[in-house]
């Protein structure tokens, strides 16, 4: 049985994706700035491909695909569905153009909405829900990918003007203590969650502490100015190799001009806000900063245990800022656990004990990436608020920097 609000959520979420592309020209929507990023147009098409492939093919008998070649062109990585267009060349697909992709979306929307009006059985409704969660993930990627594209343009054009929302001055960092013991983590509600959040299971934690807020740009700048990028002893071996190979001297998007520091944002080039959480750092940088600060990164179990009682509120995509902001912190719990910046943990992304991937092609959604990546928690200023949960596990490779990824410090008990 289809949940009552699925139709409305479908309309809202699909509309939001199109709205995100509106400030952009057809050229902006077509370019790909690195293999890890995709063109905006590709995000718009791929999310529609998802519904066509996994929902309409079953829910709408006799459904004729909008264009048979899209099955190949807009498949991301589902080997069980078939071959895929070369990932690093998505920016060469000048055809179909943006208008055609938008027509593809309308075509898919018409058919899915018809299905939703008729009503989907439970299995298909849950695939449709997965499609919406998937689309929300791509909304965030669309923003981080277009930030990367515009951030490589020497003129640093703005994606759209940023609303005026001044930071609150960052309070000195405090520590919150958490007693160790046997804890449950993983999702156990009756709403949506990804397969990688299950099964809920017990973990044993030693006593630990979490910082009252994420590390700020101002604090991170001290690390930079203290020679943080020149001291091998602060870094993991892989991280140090990367620093030297890539010439990293500071987070992605930072620019120093005559001793003043700026950063490229979705609102254009701005002065660095010292009170806002630092972001666009790799796991290596987060780890090195923590070592420099005499602390460490939290495990994902520590993070989730601390976050479990908090509700996901904060600076999410809906604020329209699309940028982290300094905020006041509550006295009784770590602040800014949700929104603003994803928080790197010290946990490698892997299967929970007893993990079972989804069946069929969708089994490729999460499980096959459980190698080489690190878990991030809490969502960012580019994440839709309805998309996040305390048990939500995001994952990226240690050197990745183009997400809104920041740092929460932890200490042993």
């Amino acid at each position: 049985m289809q949940p009552p609000d699925l139709l409305k959520r479908y309309e809202d979420i699909r509309r939001t994706s199109v709205a995100l592309a509106e400030p952009l020209s057809p050229e902006d929507c077509a370019a790909q700035s690195m293999p890890d990023a995709s063109p905006v147009k590709w995000h718009l098409a791929h999310t529609s491909w998802f519904f066509e492939t996994f929902v309409l093919a079953k829910a709408a008998p006799g459904y004729a695909p909008f264009d048979a070649s899209y099955r190949f062109l807009f498949n991301s990585y589902y080997n069980s569905v078939g071959g895929q267009y070369t990932r690093s060349e998505r920016g060469l697909l000048t055809r179909p153009d943006l208008e055609t992709v938008l027509a593809f979306r309308r075509h898919v929307d018409g058919h899915v909405l018809a299905c939703l009006k008729r009503g989907l059985d439970e299995e298909l409704a849950s695939v449709c829900e997965l499609g919406l969660q998937h689309e929300q993930q791509h909304q965030e990627l669309l923003l981080t990918d277009v930030k990367h594209l515009l951030g490589r343009n020497p003129a640093f054009p703005a994606y759209r003007p940023a609303p005026d929302a001044p930071s609150v001055r960052a309070e000195p960092l405090r520590w919150h203590s958490f007693p160790g013991g046997l804890e449950w983590i993983g999702y156990d509600g009756d709403g949506f969650c990804f397969d990688n959040e299950r099964p809920r299971h017990r973990v044993f934690l030693a006593d630990y502490q979490l910082a009252s807020r994420p590390v700020t740009r101002g604090e991170y700048l001290e690390f930079v100015l203290d020679g943080g990028y020149e001291r091998a002893g602060l870094w993991l071996s892989e991280g140090w190799s990367r620093v030297r190979e890539s010439g990293w001297r500071h987070p992605l998007y930072w620019h120093e001009r005559d001793g003043e520091w700026f950063e490229a944002t979705l609102g254009g080039l701005r002065e660095l806000d010292p009170d806002a959480p630092v972001c666009h750092v790799s796991h290596y940088e987060a780890d090195a900063y923590a070592r420099w600060a005499g602390a460490r990164l939290p495990t994902e179990a520590e993070w989730e245990t601390a976050a479990a009682k908090l509700s996901p509120e904060g600076n999410f995509a809906e604020s329209g800022l699309l940028h982290p902001r300094g905020a006041g912190t509550p006295a009784d719990a770590p602040g800014q656990m949700f929104g603003d910046v994803w928080e790197w943990t010290s946990s490698a992304y892997g299967a929970y004990p007893g993990f079972r991937p989804l069946s069929g092609g969708l089994g490729e959604y999460n499980g096959k990436f459980m190698s080489g990546q690190m878990v991030l928690r809490g969502g960012s200023c580019a994440t839709p608020v309805s998309h996040i949960r305390p048990s939500y596990r995001n994952f990226f490779y240690p050197p990745d920097r183009w997400q809104f990824s920041g740092i929460r410090l932890a200490l042993d008990g």
Copy 2:
């Protein structure tokens, strides 16, 4: 003193460039399919940058650049002018968008036309002429680059519908004999030529023969079917390495489907025309084919001596075909020496004895590329007819295949 027709030629040539972009969407004009190719939009901007930098800066005192950042963004390789945006990332410049680049063109055109109406001194008139020749070169590159982009799209979209112009059946290849002796090559007229065509000088040639027409697709297909790409002994060592590394089995843009051969053209995917000259072969392939055929490639001096008495007529860009075509061949001279396909020679591109590059920044135009490249002669179906001369020297690297490059066979006397 400015030549009388310079103003009219300026208007015609500049208009032609814009017209070439008209069949294309903004996305088509922005993408870059490989480092050697440039986006259409970049060609349109760079050719305007040329006039702004080398003509307006001197001819129009007080001239304000359309946008100061373009000096950097649209400089191709002129180190003496300043730094350059990374060549391989031209496809990331989604801003300025196509409209803005067209406005840049109109801005430059207005100022140049005003100068031309006032009259330019001889030196600046000759720089302006060079700018027009430069623009014609980029018209050809615009076409070959967009062919490459569309040719990598799995749907093989057409740049524009091709006119109906059937090939004439290729006659059997005959040989034309040329007696050896001391010959003059290089330009000695009073029209325009590039610095690399001078000075006119003497060369000694042994007796030689040239084929009556370029090698056809049908003939080249025989080489393919005879295992030409699997026999090391036919190839230069570098060529054989490249064949194995790149997996070459036939010319660029050819596709075999169930034993039938097709090729991607600017008019979309078509059946291979066996009577038309083969093109999109590298120097390595041209050389290997010649060895297989018991012949060799001509030197540029042999080619020019044979072409010197012929006038440049043939299938050039103005025909609108944008594709080589089989044609009848005259009895008394090699046919299709001009147009259809550039003909690889066996001559490495280098300085003529006594060569002097242009002075100033324009000295970087030709001279600094005199290493590692091979000379091609005669122009192609994408070359403007007014751009070509018997003494014209084009040059590309031996593995390059995305130009309309074909094969003329030669024999010792």
Copy 3:
């Protein structure tokens, strides 16, 4: 206070390293077959550098280094000690030659033995012990590196003739059940352990099962013949990419000739022994095999809990086989947990809760590699038996195959 047997152990272990090089020519000892491997000669020198740098510099006042340039040449990765010769070019160090390196060893041995006879304080004695453990690690690497070198020689020369030691026929695989609950892992004895085995701490385990023996070559061959290397759905995404890029079709050192299977061993090329544990598989292959078999890899906590009561006995380096061998399995516990092959776990290599690296330069020994690698357990046929413990954590990158790395299957309880 120096432990009573330290002097004797020093003499034994140092002598063993030299003995391992004896079957080899100077050329064999000098070559480097890939950046991950080091020349035998380099292993002999680096292990001596370790004593010179970390023991003699403090324990022998006025000690004159054998050659001042060795501080740089034979430093592996200790940034706090100074710069390092380029790792991938160790094979270019034809000087110092083997004789000189052996003289360096004797020089160092003379001085260390003098110190040991005088007696070292507790701290230096523990550094000396670490140096011996370090040397044992390099003994194993020396063997795996020379296996790699000789295994790339088309003649597959033997390192030394292998003793005659036939396999026992592998019994059908059975499962041993382990009840879940709160368990302690990590070292808590009073002997030597590495910093990464501490602190001992509690983990919560769900019920699980372990296979009665490692996966055999015969079983793995079934996976190969069943198209295991052609079915994307069996692989982690990174693993599948690697399979395609590297053309993997079977474990390292396997060779198929006319339907018969052989493998290159330290005793030369031999027929594949179907009863012996499979080895030289990457983590990706171990994971894919487990998925194909309907099982999974164990976590390191599961492995250690099961191994904690067993004593490290089995086919270690001292057997002289230098090759895994099929063996009978006990009824009441998993067999071959120690020796034969290292067993890949599903655990990413990371810090135990409360981990503290060693102080000073030796802090770089283990901690800085806690990123991107996976834990292996149990030792191999190339590990000295005195070097292993149930809590011992080895670690390599997921694609690494040149160690004696094999597969132990696990199941949820």
Copy 4:
């Protein structure tokens, strides 16, 4: 009919190769410092493979190869003979060891000498002569390759002590004029020459001048200190790219320490001799230096015409210096045209008009490399004097620097 001195020359030249390896350890003879260089041991084996493959296989019926696997292992690039061991991995062939390779040489020598004593027919005698010329080429490569290997060792070990042979102070550079006209180049004697020196043919030259001696180290240092490596305008486009990618700041083997200049030589690290000809420069550097000096490089026809009347005398391998040396220059002709340093010309390496490669497998000797390389003339201090002729054409790629390659300047008439 076999020339009378062939047997003696065989003995001398084969003995010389072995003598060149005598100062070296087995390790020195086995290592490969870059893909372009080969191990000394490989040179010793490959030159014997040549005689086994091209002489003994025909001249000694029933000849049993020393080891059948050598046909593959020591084939350099003769596809018509069969496959080849990977070029870049020659340093991994620790077996066969040096002793075995020397035994291979003795085996081959015994059989070839027996043939020579019986007498070879004209065709086989000429192949045998080619084998000796080939061996002399590898003697030079052996020296330049071992120089490269030892030059990468931080200790700069000497290949052997250099004899004491002080330079003569370099006289100021003068110019020698040569009148233009129709000249003959290419070999026309009745001795040995390579196929690429034929056929002798006419070329037309304009008036030109050649420098009285090669450019010295002192003169080249002025170019370095004048910012030669920082001024794009002095360089070919490819050369400038290479300078930036490779970080070139001076010739290979130069080292600056506190303002003093040294160079690694086959006799170890020495102070730079300002009077000796500069060497170990690429074609790009030679070309840039010439531009800086207001001159150009000669064509190979200009060089040969000037050299044709001179006899090859100078500082060749037989002097034992293995290093260029400043020398007095004659008044009436350019000095040091032979020996000391190979002189880069401005001529791309290609076929002479009417060129015919040798028949059979030996046709791969020279012809297939006629792409992408530049001609050098005159021999070097590592070339055997009996190996050189005015018509001799050596060829390397423009970025190559590990040969004794230097600069002779030229001017237009």
